[in-house]
Amino acid sequence: MNCEVCQLNELEVEHFEIREVLRCILHTVVFHRALGLVRPKDIDLELFEITYVQCGDAELEKKIDEKIDQFIGWVEKHPNKKSQICLSFYEVKNRQPSWFIANKVERLYWEQWYINLNVAQHTKAHSSKSHHSKVVVDPRESAPEERSARRAALEASLREVLFQIIKFVNEKKDHVPPIPTLEGVVCFPFEITIPSSSDSFGMDIFKRMLQTGHPTMLS
């Protein structure tokens, strides 16, 4: 099975915008991959005039928010860096254990989404780690006009990213595995990979290769 990869357009965000942007993108992707029975929930962004859709699954929301919190923590420790978040969907297959593979369970990644963020340099505001935290406005903001222009540009870019996701989902359908019929399973299993604090981003890729046994196709 091929692993389809989608590199989303880079977004220039400020620190306080990270949570909203990531929630929007991650939930949009997950919604397109939550092929189980869902009751969609519309969510309005606070910073932008964009409405995205969630699956309405509390566990999914929790999992995503936890990853976002980790990423924000990493950004605070590594300012002024371009960062990338990888959302990967995989299939779980049993594999016979071998001497270099401890886990019996093998993950077959069939799709990966790369979210590219360029966190602005002057973002230093502390963000709450609560799941329901409000967006913290950067106190050191530039002129209102400049800020509004930048915000509008980001909104347009974010909208383009969402359309990019939709197009990708529409164009690539054959690689999607059969819909899980198990009760309680809403979405294909996935993981969110953020840059680790100690290792480089490449190390994360290497770790994934060890787990999957499949070469990661980078486009």
Binding site: T28, F31, H32, L35, G36, L37, V38, R39, P40, K41, D42, E49, I50, T51, Y52, V53, C55, G56, D57, A58, E59, R159, L162, F163, I165, I166, V169, N170, E171, K173, V176, P178, I179, E183, G184, V185, V186
Partner: protein, 632 residues
């Protein structure tokens, strides 16, 4: 062979069913966020505590159709209507136009018609308008801001009887179903990213009056856009779904400038004064009219004084204050009575208030019964008059929560009144009041006063309204005095009122000792210009003339005089002389008859009669003096 053939047929049926459900689900997804009145978009408020897939019970609560494509949406009846209509035509193509309808700015020119307007149905044959508004050809502009086209292009079914077809056919339906899910997920997200969604949200969420609305139409054959329109629109196409029997294509043409359109249209309407607006106590129960001396807020906020509140008239004539709602009714009839009645209300003849009436009056005087200046329809702007409510029950008061269209049928010969100026639409009092008969009857002159030019009630009407046999110029005030102690039902029986001067003793009380309402009635004695309800100030001579006429028409005293000693009911300068002569003869008769009667008859001499006459003269003078004082 047979099983594969049968399987192929079942497979084809499955595919056909999937395609049909795709149409249904697509329409539902689109209209959910494009038709504000059918919006059922967010499950968040009603979402189960747990995920719908986490428990079988929550999943089973969904209807079968909701589970299609694993996308639980609420059913919209309007969607079903559109689907039914669409299915009657070409079932392989569905076009959904989302139209931005610009409303006319001038609301008065807009006639809201109930659903089923033929013109709108012609334009939107398979749809309903959002906000349940329909404009009777008053639509200023319509612009199609979105066009969704869902089309299934069938092709010749290939022969699937070859080996392996069974397996592939099974995969076809499953694969198609999976891809359909992905397609509808994309559609669900896309409809919320397009510019029209913002307009939908504005219409749904804002309480502001909008000059635009969203409408939609669903049909099978679309009218192609002009080149100019196509140039203004952008296209987004979803990847077609390939099936063994055809291809399903979904695309949308949309305008990217709707944001500007909605922002411009969101300007609130400039406020303007509605001159003939009549509010409701429910909206503003404590609204006061500045000129009114009413002080205390109403204890019964819905107890409006209506012109048809005849109880009030019975109790005392003059001072009436109105609530905003019925105010136009009150001021208008004054004109009619001013024209009709040649007498004013001498204070002395004002009815005393029996205990219950006075109590009720006091109760009602605390009502905030003040029309707003804008409500006074009379050009004369007659001052509001406080009518004490003597017999209004609580039920009546509560029922009078809104202005009422006075039923003209009960008014007999009263013409159809143009209530639009004076009476705001409201439920009829008749159904809510206990004293309906009296209410309706009493509204007659009030209403006619509202259109004084049109209606001039005759004597019978006046009698009916005031329950007494009086001439057209008779002072209604006297009727009030009579009726103050009577029931309303009795008042309408004119035979009970034999004479205008058949008053109670307490009618002769000093007008200064009147209840508060009359103290407040600086309005009553003030000149009330035509258009007011109650008789305006009349000349002293006119009042005397009225009395004289009454006396002339009064039944003779002969029969009564033979049985008992009765005080002459009325007197006037002319009548006195006549009556003296009559009584002289009557006395003589009585004197002769008394011999044969029982002991009830007393013999009267002429001197006694003259003394009696003198007393009446003094009484008359006293009345005139008191009347003169009040009008000077």
């Amino acid at each position: 062979m047979a099983p594969s053939h049968g399987n192929s047929h079942s497979e084809a049926a499955k595919i056909e069913q999937i395609i049909t459900e795709i149409f249904h689900k697509s329409l539902q997804i689109i209209l959910e966020v494009r038709a504000p009145d059918t919006s059922s978009r967010n499950f968040s408020g009603e979402q189960a505590m747990s995920s719908p897939s986490s428990s079988s019970s929550s999943s089973s609560s969904l209807r079968a159709r909701d589970k299609w494509f694993n996308l639980a949406l609420r059913e919209c009846p309007a969607v079903l209507e559109n689907l039914d209509l669409w299915r009657q035509s070409n079932c392989q193509r569905m076009v959904v136009d989302v139209v931005l309808v610009q409303r006319p700015v001038d609301w008065d020119s807009v006639n809201f018609s109930p659903k089923g307007n033929s013109s709108s149905k012609e334009r939107y044959p398979y749809c309903w308008n959002s906000d349940q508004d329909e404009f009777r050809g008053q639509v200023r502009s319509e612009k199609t801001i979105e066009r969704w086209v869902l089309q299934y292009e069938s092709r010749k079914v290939k022969d699937n009887r070859s080996s392996g077809s069974r397996r592939s056919s099974n995969n076809n339906s499953h694969a198609l179903y999976k891809k359909s899910i992905l397609l509808l997920r994309s559609l669900y997200a896309t409809v919320r990213l397009l510019p029209a969604y913002k307009i939908f949200r504005d219409l749904n969420s804002s309480c502001q009056i909008r000059t635009f609305s969203l409408a939609h139409r669903v049909f099978s054959h679309d009218e192609p856009f002009s080149r100019r329109e196509q140039a203004e629109m952008q296209r987004f196409g979803f990847t077609p779904l390939e099936t063994s029997s055809g291809r399903l294509c979904l695309s949308v043409l949309y305008r990217s400038s709707e944001l500007d359109m909605s922002s411009e249209s969101s300007t609130p309407m400039s406020p303007h004064v509605i001159s003939d607006y009549v509010g409701s106590p429910l909206a503003d129960p404590l609204k006061r009219f500045p000129s009114l001396p009413v002080a205390a807020p109403s204890s019964l906020p819905f107890s409006r004084r209506h012109s048809w509140g005849f109880d009030l008239y019975r109790a005392s004539p003059p001072l009436v204050s109105f609530s905003p709602s019925p105010s136009p009714t009150y001021s208008e009839p004054q004109a009619s009575f001013s024209n009709r009645s040649s007498c004013h209300f001498p204070p002395m003849s004002l009815p005393p208030h029996p205990p219950e009436t006075s109590l009720a009056y006091k109760k009602h005087t605390s009502f905030d019964y003040c029309p707003s200046p804008a409500f006074s329809p009379s050009p004369s702007a007659s001052p509001p008059i406080c009518i004490p409510g003597s017999h209004l029950s609580k039920g009546l008061l509560r029922s009078e929560s809104a202005p009422v269209n006075i039923p003209t049928s009960k008014l007999g010969s009263s013409p159809s009144l143009s209530n639009k100026q004076y009476l705001p639409p409201s439920p009829p009092i008749r159904s809510t009041r206990s004293g309906t008969l009296r209410t309706d009857n009493c509204t007659g002159p009030i209403h006619t006063g509202a259109t004084v030019e049109q209606f001039s009630p005759g004597k019978d009407e006046i009698r009916k309204y005031f329950g007494m046999k009086i001439s057209a110029n008779c002072s209604p005030q006297i009727s009030y005095s009579r009726s103050s102690s009577r029931s309303f039902q009795d008042d309408f029986d004119g035979s009970d009122f034999a004479c205008a001067f058949d008053v109670d003793d307490d009618d002769m009380t000093d007008p200064r000792s009147r209840p508060d309402s009359f103290d407040q009635k600086g309005h009553f004695c003030e000149p009330i210009e035509p258009g007011g309800f109650f008789p305006i100030r009349k000349s002293h001579d006119a009042a005397v003339g009225d009395l004289v006429r009454m006396l002339k028409k009064a039944p003779p005293l002969r029969a009564e005089f033979s049985n008992s000693l009765n005080v002459p009911q009325a007197s006037g300068p002319e009548i006195w002389s006549n009556s003296i002569q009559e009584r002289k003869a009557a006395v003589q008769h009585a004197a002769s008859a008394s011999m044969t009667s029982s002991g009830f008859v007393t013999l009267k001499t002429t001197a006694d009669a003259l003394e009696e006459l003198q007393g009446y003269r003094e009484m008359k003078n006293l009345l005139f003096e008191q009347g003169g004082k009040s009008y000077t």
